[in-house]
């Protein structure tokens, strides 16, 4: 029996050790996710159209009665819409994309490759960041068209956009975790949409929490999304941010630290 050197010379093209393989593989897979988005831009549209619709709806329907004028109200409303956009752009796509991969066998291939179990998940989430950037940029443009003006200059705008995107990034690990656990992509979408209402609307989005009825106010005050929206509002309007930025960062860290390892563990598990 011939057993000497039976396999096609693996040494010639096999990898040299290069640093940070998990990051490199994540970037390759982020590229994959983005390439898929350009051919199927649904998630981006979702991340832009839904918040833009809410913005137009709220501003012209309630703006006059809530704040006296539509432009005053837009100054209040826009930052919350921005956060909603960043949240949605990833929330909807990442979980269901990963879930779909699990279904159709792509995940089996990834899991049988010598790559970190983190890479496919991180890749998808990193691609989301590009989606957030796009969603945030388009929302800024729509806001400006409707009459929103940043009061705090470029630095304030960048800080607010950065905060919204950071939060979107950290929040999407929750969706990733759900996407890995749940059996069907439909369920992932359903969970995303059901959580959308309390998470994004049960906040200071449309009106200050003080004006909300008691039960809703208690929820809105503990809802992390309220902190993010308050922080972005302060940053964009040049108002004192108080502890809202700190609270946002703490929430971001907490979501990431809890859900990223959970998701990676669930994904890499050998049942």
């Amino acid at each position: 029996m011939t057993t000497t050197a039976p396999t096609a010379a693996p040494a010639t093209e096999l990898p040299r050790a290069r640093p940070l393989p998990w990051l490199r593989h994540s970037l390759v897979l982020a590229g994959r996710s983005l390439a898929k988005t350009t051919r199927n831009p649904g998630p981006i549209i979702n991340g832009v159209v839904t918040p833009a619709l809410f913005m137009v709806l709220f501003v012209y329907l309630f703006g006059g009665s809530v704040a006296g004028s539509t432009t005053t109200y837009l100054q209040y409303l826009f930052p919350g819409i921005l956060v909603m956009g960043a949240g949605l752009a990833g929330m909807v796509s990442t979980g269901s994309a990963i879930n779909l991969d699990l279904k159709n066998g792509v995940t089996d291939r990834f899991r049988s490759l010598p790559i970190s179990r983190l890479a496919p998940l991180l890749g998808s989430v990193l691609a989301d960041i590009v989606r957030y950037l796009l969603a945030v940029a388009i929302l800024f443009a729509i806001g400006a068209l409707l009459g929103f003006r940043v009061q705090s200059g470029l630095a304030g705008a960048l800080a607010a956009a950065g905060l919204a995107i950071l939060f979107g990034f950290c929040l999407s690990w929750v969706t990733v975790f759900v996407g890995v656990l749940v059996r069907s992509a439909e369920t992932v979408l359903a969970i995303s949409f059901i959580s959308f209402l309390p998470l994004q609307l049960g906040t200071s989005l449309a009106a200050p929490v003080e004006t909300l009825p008691g039960w809703l106010r208690s929820w809105a005050e503990i809802n992390p999304v309220t902190h993010v929206m308050d922080a972005c509002r302060a940053l964009l309007n040049g108002a004192p941010a108080g502890d809202t930025v700190t609270m946002t960062l703490i929430w971001c860290a907490a979501l990431f630290v809890v859900f990223c390892p959970l998701a990676v563990r669930a994904y890499g598990r050998q049942q």
């Binding site: 096999l14 490199r24 291939r109 899991r111 049988s112």
Partner: protein, 324 residues
């Protein structure tokens, strides 16, 4: 270094109440093709998933290319490739982009990844479709691309889970040729199938499994002699000849034929001599036939011969990881 491409010893795995594997042992010398033959739910996919480090066995041990699949999964993954029942290429990406991506994940520099992709696209006759999204590929092209994707890293061991499911015979033969090419390269292959014909066409050795256990194994020739070799089917043109045909078959085969349909007679034979003998006698007696064939036994007939019972495993749940 082990002389075996992979080996498994006493693997067990339960999913809830179903024992998917119940003491499965396998071993394949390097560079050979093992055909794992069994009905749905016999444990074929489960054993592949364990060997490919996707699933942990409840007990027993397995090693691939000399590395334990539970203790050294990283080493195993460097040396294997998996091509599943469900083709696992990205619909939205082009054929070329799919292969380049795998190359990049295997740490090939971009130029090398591109070159390797071109090589494989040519080898699997996909050059013309290389720049088109996979969404527009036919079933056979997808299967070939999937196989190409599994070879990017020049694996030592390749797992093919029912590679020809859903392909028409022409495409299937094309795929078979490509699978034969693998073993010519010295790659060890584990192939699962529900068709003795496929295992016979591709494998150096066949293991028949049922209820998570190997119930027979050997070379295709050994196995065929165990299960009675071939079956001959005759359908006379004129149905009044049926009895005459039955007499010839009984005489040549040494046992009474079965009437599988109204005018079709089937009899198991060993060796192909019987076929020519039957043909000669039909001609002698001037009996015209619309069908006269010598074929390998079906999976059902294999099971009937080996266990005395038809396949039963299909009634059990298939592995939950493969939910439709």
């Amino acid at each position: 270094m082990s002389e075996n491409g992979f080996e498994a010893e006493g693997l067990t795995k339960r999913f809830g109440k179903v024992a998917a594997l119940d003491g499965m042992s396998l071993a394949v010398p390097r560079g050979q093709v093992l055909g794992l033959l069994g009905p749905n739910g016999a444990g074929k996919t489960t054993v592949i998933r364990i060997l490919a480090t996707l699933l942990r066995p409840d007990s027993g041990s397995a090693s691939v290319a000399g590395f334990d699949v539970v203790r050294r999964p990283g080493q195993v993954r460097r040396r294997i490739a998996l091509s599943g029942q469900h083709t696992s290429v990205d619909e939205e990406l082009t054929g070329s982009a799919n292969l380049v991506m795998i190359g990049r994940l295997l740490d090939l520099p971009r130029t090398q990844a591109v070159r390797r992709a071109e090589e494989l696209l040519a080898r699997f006759r996909l050059e013309d479709a290389a720049k088109r999204p996979v969404a527009g590929y036919s079933g056979g092209m997808r299967r070939r691309l999937d196989l190409a994707a599994s070879l990017v890293g020049r694996p030592e061991v390749v797992f093919l889970d029912e590679p020809s499911v859903g392909l028409d015979p022409g495409k299937r033969d094309e795929l078979w040729q490509m699978i034969r090419g693998l073993s010519a390269d010295g790659v060890t292959v584990l192939l699962t199938t529900q068709y003795l014909e496929e295992a016979d066409a591709l494998a150096d050795a066949i293991a028949v499994i049922d209820h998570g256990r190997v119930i027979a194994s050997g070379t295709p020739a050994e196995l065929k002699s165990q299960v009675g070799g071939h079956a001959i089917t005759v359908r006379p043109n004129d149905s009044t000849d049926t009895d005459a045909v039955a007499t010839i078959l009984a005489d040549v085969a040494g046992r009474a034929p079965e009437r599988s349909t109204r005018h079709e007679l089937v009899v198991p034979v060993t060796g192909d001599e019987a076929f020519f003998e039957i043909a000669a006698r039909l001609r002698e007696q001037r009996i015209g036939v619309s069908e006269l064939s010598l074929r390998l036994p079906s999976l059902d007939e294999v099971f009937l011969a080996l266990t005395g019972a038809p396949t039963t495993a299909t009634e059990h749940a298939t592995e939950p990881t493969k939910a439709a």
